[in-house]
Symmetry: C2
Subunit: 267 residues, 2 copies
């Protein structure tokens, strides 16, 4: 493990990237306009270390560095070690996960890059809830979907809470924006993706019967409003998850999980 730098003074400028995290995304002085990418806790820090988001520094308590020792070996990153109290003062609240990593955003990936070898992808429209986005990435990673694509009006998957809820998989499952939404879906179609919209419509065919493509792109909208008619029209087929009457639609990340599961259930 590389050199550890002890931090005793919460005002130390070397830990400025970790300062006042609740407000950090409002700071216009930071690169990338949307702020830094923060990983919280040993599990997520480990996933960041293993991703294209190269951390520029870590801040944590001794015990967490012991846990991470093997992962940190031979990496040339500053490890700021401090107490839980100083850490809370820097960050602005008490963090019981005890370790943070921070990374600058690399250049965004393109739709072509993230779909090149993919056979199951989620395409989201209007999903503006950070926790739902995080769960989406966790479910994609767990159930073998290879990419997440963003249409209009989605939240930032790299927001701290998304990354945390995703268990760090927002840093690992590649994502990209669909250019010229929703017309850019044509590009996916030309690559051989069957484009399926999930709909609550009880007269639509079931997902199990509709999902016939070798490659599948699943369109999901936010709970409540669902997909726009424009996005629906850009798909090949609309399919439903069999739901009980009189209930609400499923959470969007859970609905996506059903679709991912349908792809792998007998594998």
């Amino acid at each position: 493990m590389a050199e550890v730098i002890e931090i005793d003074d919460p005002a130390d400028p070397r830990v400025d990237d970790f300062r006042d995290l609740k407000n950090a995304d409002r700071r216009p002085d930071l690169p990338g306009r949307k702020g830094l990418v923060i990983a919280e806790g040993a599990v997520v820090v480990r996933r960041m270390l293993d991703s294209r988001f190269a951390p520029s520094g870590l801040l944590g308590v001794a015990r967490r560095y012991t846990e991470l020792a093997e992962d940190l070996t031979a990496r040339d990153i500053p490890y700021y070690r401090t107490t839980a109290e100083v850490m809370a003062e820097v960050v602005g609240f008490h963090l019981n996960r005890g370790v943070l990593a921070v990374a600058r955003r690399p250049a965004p990936l393109t739709m072509d890059e993230v779909t090149e070898h993919a056979h199951t992808v989620a395409v989201l429209e209007g999903v503006n809830d950070h926790e739902n986005l995080g769960s989406m990435f966790r479910n994609a990673a767990g159930l073998g979907a290879q990419a997440v694509l963003f249409g209009d009006r989605c939240a930032d998957p790299l927001y701290r809470r998304s990354v945390r809820v995703s268990m760090g998989h927002a840093l690992r499952v590649p994502f990209a924006s669909v250019p010229d939404w929703p017309n850019g879906l044509d590009t996916l179609r030309r690559k051989g993706f069957q484009i399926i919209a999930l709909t609550p419509n009880p007269t639509a065919p079931t997902l199990a019967s509709a999902m016939t493509g070798e490659r599948v792109a699943l369109l999901l909208g936010a709970e409540g409003p669902g997909l726009t008619e424009e996005a629906m029209r850009a798909t090949d087929i609309r399919a439903r998850i069999p739901m009980s009457p009189g209930t609400d639609s499923l959470n969007v990340a859970t609905a996506a999980a059903m679709a991912f599961y349908e792809r792998v259930r007998i594998s």
Copy 2:
């Protein structure tokens, strides 16, 4: 709609059931030891009105009563109407859902009662997270599972946050404790339930191949520790959801949703 009672004074004792909600479950003076059951927001209040949890009172702002007018017709419950400000003072925080209902807990149901006509049930062990429990009930309702059973060390499904996250379905999907855990599972077996434990073990058969019973009880443990060996031994078969290597287990409510989905996917 029955008589509306205007509340101007936050100290009015008639709204004591809604007072200081964040601490209410610690109040030993309330019946049932675990406090009252609270429904938040028009959707959840509507589900409470339509459940075995008969509300003893409502507190809300005028606009929400307008929304609920049809549901409240001919019900003999006090409707306390007030402003958002007075409501926040009573409750102890600002509630943007604008309406609450409160009910006393009825006698618990028995495992026999809740499983009598069920063909898909979830059985939980050690699921002590209120949000996960809420999501479990939402997914059970949406995907047609008919009951939730509790083994040891589960949280209270009637806690305010569980009820809210469940969208009120914790009040509608019946639940009961398994007596003499895990031996009580034998009773389910004698009723013809196939008892399946979900396991992360990659050598186990898939859920899709293992789930052959007409009636199915799905055992799920908490993320991380999973099911105890004792509970595992009380099952008929252990089955897995196909997962990608190097990922975490799914959230317990999402894992349950996969299993519920497997039961209804071609319906």
